[in-house]
Symmetry: C2
């Protein structure tokens, strides 16, 4: 029997759990040795467990000698590092002729390696996690099918959200942090969200973003809402969607989240661009009061209600109280905090997943098209529930596509060389098929064509 | 008679008119030759006119040889260039031992010259225009007097605005552009406005800034409103205001301006961080519609009213219509414009000063203090009306302090060396005295102490 094939996984964070389990489960049949490398050896050892085909490796990627040695010994490399650290790994992979898999967006620097990667016949597969990743594959499968049938695409909308599973959903916001809380707090900041509806470019500035949510419906799970992403036009080129009339990408939350979140936006609590004064001993109540006009005796509560016009019986208020926002005993232990850091602390008190909590991933695509003079619409969706705090829905949906792609590249089932994302049939067909076997199944249904312009009137 | 003393003025823009006139009027008595240098020789010639003591000079400040020669020939230098261009001039002034006067904020690079400037016994006077400039001098004069009397300062608020004069005020916004329109459009963006009220730090994010205006009253001119500056704490050190309970700086507008302006803010029209699509042939109406949800036939008007909850009878609506905001015939001739560039175009159609229009500068300070156990308050204000489109109130209030300071430095009435701003008695006393002779007079009155906390209750 030939010697084992080494798969080098760099970065043993939370999101690597399902990825590693998948590869270890296949390690006997596929003759694999999984080398789990992390700067923190305990993380790598924890992931390796006592599995005979797993090896933990202590690796600081800035140690060039060790990094190169590890890559030389590998048959293929997976980088689960934060995106900004991929490049050194990628360059070594080119030098030593190893294919590379990441779940991250393709940086310009990564793209510049394309010619060299192609020349060596390597596959550098990126954006093969959840979003980006499963979204690319599940959308392109249907887009290609519609086009192959000779129909004309009119509308593409795509929505993804990381939420708490219904069985663990026990707060008024119907939300818990299932991923990096900071990203949730600052989401939507920067330039306006931009998308196309019925051929018109539309822009939503941050100050209105959370009042422009749209309602979605998913069979068996009910209603959700979506907030526009900043980058709805991002894959217009890659998906060849220049002629569609409607192009919209959004983030999914449970209904009512955005309207309540808008309170924080309006107060200025999500700003991460400046440090507040005296935050170390500031109470939650004082934090709220910092954003309200001064008054010698009116309460923080009444000032806030008046400022944001929240009626006495508005359910929004219960959401604020649930967060202990007006508590004058709880205080931050953060020096020179930004507003975003402070509101994150308040939210983490309440929205951190508990041991028994499960998370949930929801993804929905809408495709509108014209076929033989008739307008049709397809909706395709998947809902994935986590098993526990290790094998979360997030770790599954990020890690499994990475793992499946890696093995298929290693086994030369995916061979088209170059720096790429998973939008070709060669890639998405076999991966989606195997994802379905692991329970990540898209349900498709035909619905009446909605579009945004049923009567074709200029608006 | 000795040869004439050359005053070199670099930059012959609009704001230099009163500055140059003042110096030319004094040129015989003071034995001055005014050298007016500009990259555009026509601007310099226009300012020089046929006055025997004026010389126009074509000068690109990046031409080191010509720049150095002009500075060597000068007895003192005034730079009216945009602030980012001062540094080369300043360095040459150090090298050739010339004092320098500017109306601009002191940059870090300028401050770094302080030791060298002192060593040569030079005066580098900055921030000696209107705001910064007259605000420093008129405030410090009263602050010093209060302190010299042994009283304790409790409150300092300071407000400035460039407006249209009442006799030329003929639009519903009670506003016209009297200075750089772009600065007006993007005003308030970036980090939250920060100030102190009764010992509490308060923060207002951009999305709420124009709904947090405060009302001011000036005898003879009625009510105004003020919007908080981002930098209320900027001169806390320079003015030694660490112990005051209230510290607030603001920009003055006529009442109702801010609430209407907030419509543009909420829509996202003041954003200068991204370019919109297809702006070259976009109509004003399409521009508005870009920020509203798509609908096949509902009107732009109704969508806007609904989105921003503007009642049918709300006076705000008239302000929008006056701007031709919903016109589908008027279009921009701007390629790849940012929202801010486009709204600026719409506003400039209506808010550009006409030939016969006069502008107006309004400044108001409030000083609260405790003297022998009693709380008192002083308000000090000035209103300056422009003469015409050349000798505007803005040109007067920016240019005259520069001119007066220059002559006093040249005549060694102001001698304290170093890179500085006009906050010492040596500087502000003689300059304010002479400003009063030109008609820039502050009116002072005692009013009941208001503060923000009449009952000293914790809020």
């Amino acid at each position: 029997m030939s010697s084992k094939r080494n798969i080098l996984i760099i970065g043993a964070g939370r999101s690597a759990s399902c990825l590693i389990k998948y590869l270890l489960d296949k390690s006997e049949v596929e003759n694999l040795q999984i080398v789990i490398a992390d700067k923190v050896i305990a993380s790598a050892e924890n992931m390796a467990g006592s599995h005979p085909n797993a090896t933990a490796l202590c690796l600081d990627i800035f140690n060039a000698e060790k990094r190169i040695k590890a890559i030389q010994n590998a048959a293929i490399v997976i980088s689960m590092l934060p995106a900004r650290f991929h490049l050194e790994v990628a360059k070594d992979c080119v030098t030593y002729g190893k294919s590379l898999v990441t779940a991250s967006y393709v940086s310009n620097e990564m793209m510049e390696l394309d010619a060299a990667v192609k020349e060596k016949g390597l596959v550098f597969m990126n954006e093969i996690g959840l979003d980006p990743g499963i979204d690319h594959m599940s959308a392109m499968q249907i887009i290609d099918r519609i086009r192959d049938n000779g129909a004309k695409l009119l509308l593409f909308e795509s929505f993804t959200g990381g939420l708490v599973a219904p069985e663990s959903d026990d707060n008024l916001w119907n939300y818990k942090f299932t991923w990096n809380p900071r990203n949730v707090v600052v989401a939507g900041q920067g330039s306006a969200a931009k998308f196309i509806q019925e051929g018109k470019f539309k822009y939503i500035p941050y100050q209105k973003l959370f009042r422009r949510s749209e309602i979605l419906y998913i069979d068996g799970y009910g209603k959700f809402e979506a907030i526009a992403n900043r980058d709805s036009l991002k894959y217009r080129d890659a998906y060849k969607l220049h002629d569609v009339l409607t192009l919209y990408r959004g983030t999914i939350r449970k209904v009512g989240f955005s309207k309540a979140w808008n309170i924080f936006v309006q107060l200025g609590m999500t700003d991460d661009t400046y440090k507040m004064e005296n935050t170390e001993n500031m109470s939650y109540r004082e934090f709220v009061n910092s954003f309200l006009p001064y008054h010698p005796y009116d309460s923080v509560e009444l000032k806030l209600r008046s400022y944001l016009k929240i009626d006495q019986d508005d359910y929004l208020w219960e959401k604020l109280e649930e967060l202990d926002l007006f508590n004058d005993q709880k205080s931050f232990e953060i020096k020179n905090g930004t507003p975003a850091q402070l509101i994150q602390k308040i939210l983490m008190d309440k929205w951190t997943l508990q041991e028994e909590d499960k998370d949930m991933i929801v993804m929905l695509h809408k495709f509108g098209y014209e076929y033989k003079g008739e307008k049709k619409q397809i909706e395709s969706s998947t809902v994935v529930i986590g098993e526990d705090q290790t094998y979360t829905a997030m770790a599954k949906t990020v890690g499994l596509p990475v793992a499946i792609a890696t093995l298929k590249i290693l086994n030369r089932e995916i061979t088209n060389p170059g720096v790429q994302i998973p939008i070709t049939k060669e890639v998405y067909e076999p991966i989606l098929k195997e994802l379905a076997e692991t329970g990540i199944v898209f349900t498709e249904k035909e619905v009446p064509y909605l579009g945004y312009n049923p009567d074709q009137i200029n608006g």
